[in-house]
Amino acid sequence: MLNIEISQIKIIAAKEFRDRIRNRWVIAVAIIFTAFALAITYFGSAQQGEVGLRNIEVTIASLVSLVIYLIPLIALILGYDAIVGERERGSLDLLLSMPITRLELLLGKFLGLSAALTSATLAGFGLVGLLLAYQIDLNALYHYAGFMVSAILLGMVFLSLAVMVSVIAKDRARASGGAISVWFLFVLVYDLLLLGVLVLSGGSFGEELFPLLLLLNPADIFRILNIFSMEDIKVFYGLATVFPTSLSSPWLLGSVMIAWIIMPLTVALWRFK
């Protein structure tokens, strides 16, 4: 079963990545990230009558709030077409007649698209990171690096979900609908539902269950990863404060994110017959 040829995965991944470089997708998304990051970093406190970098922790928290909406959306748009697009155009049969397994094709697509999104994330936020590096201390820079790594993981989770949608959907229209639903569910609806339940139950609803429910949403894991380490910020986030320290190790949370990358791909492979 696990007869994997890495070279085949590389060929597919390289094509996907090259396509996104050529059609300027990577540079366009990098510019969007840079623009938003700069705006938040330097004008985020304009309402208080100040311009310029104030507090790196507040800045990262603001970036987290932005990225939590933006990256899942961009990842889903990038990936929803991956398989269903080939199927609808009619190029999938030819591709599958090559000496390549479906697992290799899926992994190649996923890794190539991940490389594109990761490049855009690194370039966009990295540029701002370089500008920040002159003004902040090493500890803050470490937080910023953590923010970038977790943003990359968040992108890969939603790319994995997008590839799953792309395998399951019958046509591109349904795939785009499915991708938007995934975004709404994880980014908007899930937290609202959890908060609603928490408020309705008057806080009595399982204190142990609640953190685990947060782990079921990759967007929440991303938020916890970034703000839990910052005491100043924690108090601003209702949901994160109910999160126990025992579960807040970045390694544990990072592992859960990686599980979130693997699971949708596994479902995708199972459905890709």
């Binding site: 070279s7 030819l94 000496p99």
Partner: protein, 302 residues
Amino acid sequence: MKNNVIEVSNIFKYYGEVLAVDGVTLTVFKGETLGLIGHNGAGKSTLFKMMLGLIPPTSGTININSTPVHGGAFRELRRSIGYLPENVVFYDNLTGLETLQFFAALKGCERDKCLPLLEKVGLAHAATRRVDGYSKGMRQRLGFAQALLGKPSILFLDEPTTGLDPEGIREFYSILHELNTQGVTVIITSHILSEIQERVQRLAVLKSGKLHALGTVQALRESVDLPLTIQVQQQCSANTLQVALQGVALESLTVADKTAIIRCHRAHKMEVLRRLGSLGDALQDVVVKEPTLEDVFLGYAG
């Protein structure tokens, strides 16, 4: 004993309630060219895709070179199989050469074989142009070049001449002939029957998912026993002609001016010709027309 390359045995394929392929058993021999014909929806492409291991049959087995097409071991064999799908689609953002190089990489064959292949199919001039600027015929040529990557020993060609102009069709068949002399096994579908009847060794006729007939063009013609058409140029009256042919079992006889059209079964052909010979100098020309493959095809699959 002939060398079996492809063995399709008792294949059924259901799409939900719909039976697309109905108990097909078929053997393709090494080095032969087999034509697969049938109306749209007869199950040709479905059968093709099952032979290539792209979709699983509901029941039955398919082996190529004794290897099951749905097993992991089939991957190696794919390197020696060329496939040109019906209405082939490529990536519009790649050039012709890049397209070939992409598939060459997947097939594990050398990149520097790509340009000569494009020359072979007459696309060298467009090698560095993007595929979205290609005409239908050029895409088909590119598809054929793709199928020839890595010197395949088996070629699956689904409606390969669609979109080609007459010159392109001629070039295509000359390449195919060359491959055939090198021992390549070819399975080809076409709806232009007059085009493939001279170029295949055997024909498989599919009708509503069933294998309706299988054999050489000649054997198929004989088995359906369609009437021959004999066209006669003569100087005598209709009456004289009727008298001369009296007693011979004809399908029909129509006389218009100096041309008579006689339709009769093969068994009576020589008798008709002998009787016509008795007309002497009044007989100016005789043309015997065999039933075309279209006739056979319509007789079987129509």
